[in-house]
Symmetry: C2
Subunit: 728 residues, 2 copies
């Protein structure tokens, strides 16, 4: 055993210990006034209740999938699935908890110190708990799976022995367990994202549609009955949802590389390309160790901000500093990892077996290409959605012509914004492939996510600050406090754009790597790897696959709209039936609104979430592996487009509205008809960018993973083959 593997458990334990330290550190801070405490507690109770509901559904789904998996594939995979689901669920739960503790403490710190630097630290400390849990739990689970199932497997492979299951099918246990682990993470991520996304946007839209548009009261006004539900939504959607989303991306990127390496090994054995078990071990080790050093680097980066004495006046600079330190340290340590792992290998062997054209540093270069691609894609997202640039300014100006042209212009902006990221993605694939073969493509995905702990920490800081602002408003703290939390919040919006670039970029690359593994899984080792689009089955699959993300997105939008309409009805009812709410003499019934959001989200999340799991498997059992191959490629391509389209259109509408609110267009500020039109745009964009876009990232990976797991079975047993045999 290479001792470098111990780095993985070291990094995981270090991160989780650091997370615990920060958790306790935040929790022992004072909550502030009684009113603040009361509101915070209402939010916390609401969030916990929802997560409990949601996890109850999850347990059932995971149990069913695990049992099916154990029966038709292997019990190893089923255990790994449960471990993966557990890790992801833990990360989401802890992150949600700390966010509901940190929010009120952020407002209180602002109230007590009136110092932006000190306040930022509290919010970031809270966010770092989520970030560290994502990295820590992901690696902990991977380590466990590796320790249980990863040993001695290379020897097994040399004699081409494999596990035979109840149905008499042969499996490669290690790749199956890794796929199972990744699938477990994906399922939880899907439910957390979809459930949380519906919850948060239903509450948000419901609150806005009546509050802002009809009653003309500001956001987070305590007179709005939906306002607590709205704040609960931030914690379950933007914190827990985001956390388990990025955990699954992280796991997906790492494991796609490992699984791919395994299949390349089998291929190499059949074709005598010179890949030894030793080299296989190295290929398995590299992404694990790279992730481990990345996590350690993120601990350093996070600590560099938390233990800094003199904070600047600009939170954006401080937060970027933490990310840059993390990313830079990751790259340096990663270079060392590449040297330690691949150093001394023969260039020619690396080239023939793996397609490395730049020697031992090839996978490191591929990872760097991934990071660069992620940064550029993020920059384009910023270009299209920030008010510093023309597209969003033009969109804001379109609001002067009314809501129809605002929508039209936003749709056009989102559609046009797809091209640049796709060119970067396409170029990245070609480059990474030429440097380090298909393994390089998955390393590019891993590179994008290697410092995910830092980006999640910064991303989580956003909704915590948003909540802190809400609490400040509801507890009627003075304007200066609200100003501090608003500054914190707006910084969070900017950092989110770059995060989206990494999410969609890494999702696409990891899905492609998984797709290659999928093809390896059912093609005889040694044959050319082909997914031929001219095959009518593959072609039909690609067309149906292309429609899947559209169906999925449409269902999600409709789910949000449905839940939001119920919320609108309830808020309208309360305004009508409880007199005195609007003049502040009567207290609205927050609890009913929270219940409506919860029930709506739980009720609506099941069908779209299960779609991604069931459709590829069902299609596989009916039409066979070629069809599903086409299905995967069609849905991946269309998901990439829809994710970019929804993310950028939604972001631009949101910021276009803010641009108008700052009074940048003379004579058309807050409350003008132009502002009303911009609010319509923002409301339309909300579910697109916060529910649909992020869920699509998971959608493509869950489909690839579940297909990869199931193809061993449906390649042997499917209806079309059966009919063919009966006829022929």
């Amino acid at each position: 055993m290479n001792l470098l593997i111990l780095l993985v458990i070291f990094a995981a334990v270090l991160a989780l210990a650091f997370a615990l330290f920060n958790f306790l550190g935040v929790k022992k801070m004072p909550e502030g006034t009684e009113k603040m405490s009361e509101i915070a507690s209402a939010i916390r109770v609401g969030a916990s209740a929802f997560i409990r509901y949601e996890y109850k559904v999850l347990v059932v789904v995971v149990a069913i999938v695990a049992v099916i998996m154990a029966v038709v594939t292997t019990w190893h995979a089923a255990i790994a699935l449960v471990i993966g689901a557990g890790m992801s669920a833990c990360a989401g739960f802890v992150g949600m908890k700390i966010a509901t503790y940190a929010n009120v403490r952020v407002s209180n710190r602002a109230r007590e110190t009136r110092d932006i630097g000190k306040t930022v630290k509290v919010a970031f400390k809270g966010g770092s708990v989520m970030g560290l849990c994502v990295g820590g739990f992901a690696l902990l689970g991977l380590f466990i799976v590796y320790m249980i199932f990863g040993f001695g497997l290379s020897q097994l492979q040399e004699t081409s022995a494999s596990y035979v299951n109840l149905l008499g099918l042969h499996f490669i246990p290690f790749t199956m367990t890794l796929s199972g682990y990744a699938l477990g993470c994906s399922i939880v991520a899907m439910f957390n994202r979809v459930g949380g996304g519906i919850y948060t946007k239903a509450a948000d839209m419901g609150a806005d549609l009546v509050g802002k548009t009809e009653a003309h009261i500001p956001e987070d006004d305590p007179r709005n009955p939906a306002t607590i539900a709205d704040n609960v939504g931030d914690n379950v959607g933007d914190v827990a949802g985001l956390g388990s989303d990025l955990l699954e991306s992280y796991v997906g990127a790492i494991s796609s590389g490992i699984i791919l390496a395994y299949h390349m090994f089998l291929q190499s054995q059949a074709l005598h390309l010179g890949m030894t078990t030793d080299l296989l071990q190295k290929c398995i080790l590299f992404p694990l160790v790279f992730a481990a050093v990345g996590l350690i680097a993120c601990c350093v980066g996070i600590a560099s901000l938390l233990f800094k004495s003199g904070m600047s006046r600009d939170p954006h600079k401080d937060l970027n500093g933490a990310t840059y330190v993390s990313a830079g340290t990751t790259m340096v340590l990663g270079l060392g990892a590449a040297y330690l792992i691949f150093g001394g290998m023969d260039r020619a062997v690396l080239s023939s077996a793996l397609g490395f054209s730049a020697g031992m540093f090839s996978p490191w270069i591929a990872a760097t290409i991934g990071i660069a691609a992620g940064v550029i894609i993020g920059a384009f997202a910023e270009f299209y959605t920030s008010t510093d640039y023309n597209p969003t300014k033009r969109l804001a100006r379109a609001s002067l012509e009314g809501s129809a042209l605002t929508i039209t212009q936003g749709l056009a902006l989102g559609m046009k914004s797809c091209m640049a990221p796709c060119i970067i993605l396409g170029g990245g694939i070609i480059l990474a492939y030429n440097i380090a073969g298909m393994y390089g493509v998955s390393m590019a995905a891993m590179g994008m996510l290697s410092f995910v702990t830092a980006t999640v920490s910064v991303d989580t800081y956003g909704p915590i600050s948003d909540n802190a602002g809400g609490i400040a408003e509801m507890s009627e703290l003075d304007a200066e406090v609200r100003e501090i939390t608003d500054t914190l919040d707006s910084v969070g919006n900017t950092t989110a754009a770059i995060g989206k670039g990494f999410a969609i970029g890494s999702g696409a690359l990891a899905a492609l790597a998984l797709m290659i593994s999928y093809l390896y899984s059912y093609n005889e080792a040694g044959t050319d790897l082909i997914l031929n689009l001219i095959d009518p089955m593959t072609l039909a699959g690609a067309i149906v696959g292309g429609a899947l993300p559209f169906l999925f997105s449409g269902m999600l939008i409709e789910a949000v709209a449905k839940a939001a309409r119920k919320m609108v009805d309830e808020v309208r009812r309360q305004f009508k039936e409880i007199p005195g709410i609007l003049d502040g003499t009567a207290k609205p019934d927050y609890k009913t609104c929270i219940e409506i959001s919860s029930k709506g989200a739980i009720g609506e999340m099941k069908v779209p979430s299960l779609l991604a799991i069931i459709v590829p498997v069902a299609c596989g059992f009916i039409f066979g592996a070629e069809f599903v191959g086409g299905l995967l490629i069609g849905s991946t391509v269309c998901s990439i487009m829809l994710a970019i389209f929804t993310g950028n259109a939604g972001g631009a509408w949101d910021n276009g509205k803010k641009y108008i609110e700052t009074g940048a267009i003379e004579g058309h500020g807050k409350g003008s008809p132009a502002h009303d039109a911009a609010v319509v745009g923002d409301t339309v964009g909300d579910p697109l960018k916060d529910t649909v876009g992020p869920c699509l990232d998971i959608f493509i990976k869950i489909m690839s993973t579940v297909s990869l797991v199931a193809v061993y079975v449906f390649h042997h047993y499917n209806l079309v083959d059966l009919i063919g045999k009966l006829i022929g």
Copy 2:
């Protein structure tokens, strides 16, 4: 020479003679009052002026493309390109002309007779001129190309001789000329659709945004300065645009089958699959003859309506009758054609050479599958967009919650509606392939379009009636007349939904057939035909290709919005600067509005139209044939989705608004806030369904055709290969 080929020229001449007869028949009818005559003349002058402008641009583009083609490919193809462009331009021009004569005569007939049946006949007679021109000119051009370049070529092929051009590259003249012919039709169609689409929607949106929303005057009100431009738009967009669009679809479907047959012949020769030159001739003949009998059948169908004595009171029934007679006769005659052409062939030979699994009738069955698929896809379009079904009713009800939820719900509806047509399309591909091989897939496309003359006649009847209503309104004819034209108009909307199903379905299938020919073109004959999506070049191409239709759609939407905004400004200016317009004492300046639409459309149409021609060629010369293969599949899949999405979302918004206007939702009729919200939805949907959707159909075919033409060159000369050679 098989004498059946004479059927083609017979059908073409018959159709064109019938068209001339109907043209003269319409023209000699009286125009009505002086005011009607004056308005009609303004519309006619505006439309003619625009078409002249547009064709000037077209002449330049076609000349440039032809010269480049003559130099880098063959002069044969350049000549065919010019013939194709000429045929398409003629059809568009004649159709536009007759529409501007027929419109006023329809209103006058309604005024004089007050008889809906008699009025329908005038409108349909006008529409039939467009339909007959589409079929007639398309086949006339094909016959000319076949007579000039199609003779003796099979002999050439047997000795595998081919034409050698200036660059020393070998070409197959006949397939090149057919591709050139199809490309010529496509280029004109693209400009007519894009230019006309921008024109009509800019005028429409401009007129509505100020007229309906701000000044609260009804549609087609003579006080609205943009109203003549709006009516001109119907003629240049919905008539000329639609006509050349469907002409290019028709030609694309027929020629894709012929080109494919040619490549299959070469393949068969290399692999000794038993395809003789005789069988090749049959495969070339079949789509031509099928199209010819389809055209003859349509003449019968059209005559059956025009010469019918007792019209029913329901125009829908009469029009459907004409279509059913045409389709039914086409199928019966087509069966005869299959018997005459493939009859007596050995089943085993047909099976091994072409993949026919049902003997001589295989291609006819494939065509029938295509027709069935088109009907079902159209039925789904109707399900999603008609107020008779739940989706649109639900959308209409969402308007009660304001414009944001109207938009959200419409987006969801459009996205969800992609799945069903894609399943039908995928199923159709699998079935057609299993019945008649890849040739069968293109025959399915041809089947969908075989009675295109009848559908275009009915489709053109729509905008003529729409215009007739506008003229009635502007000439202040009494309500009864308007009622008749309104009935005619609403029937047109229903028939349009099914037409869309055929357009996108046939477009997708024809594009796929062209893609296969594309692959044959650069792969050595006799090798397996593979477009491997696992190749990183193909994969990168697919991702970039997926973004292309989004970019294209975004540009089109923006172009419409830009032109519409200029129109809004002008209408507002006139209302302000010319007092008395609104109370009817002063006449608005219609001419300036017409000029704005014209200039806007001409200015904005160039970039998106050229995108489709230039991008695949440029990518080919840089990245080579594999990349472009990926590009084509990516853009085809995404175009299918976007075309369905935009068509159905736009249609549902439009009809949702109409549903509210009928007063179906109690207490929320015309003028209510719900109606205002529905109007916003309709305005957003207009450019989506009438500009973006139809243009996407052409987009995928023009890209496939231009790639097919250019691949002979860029397969040999491209940057990546060059760099590879320099490095290696």
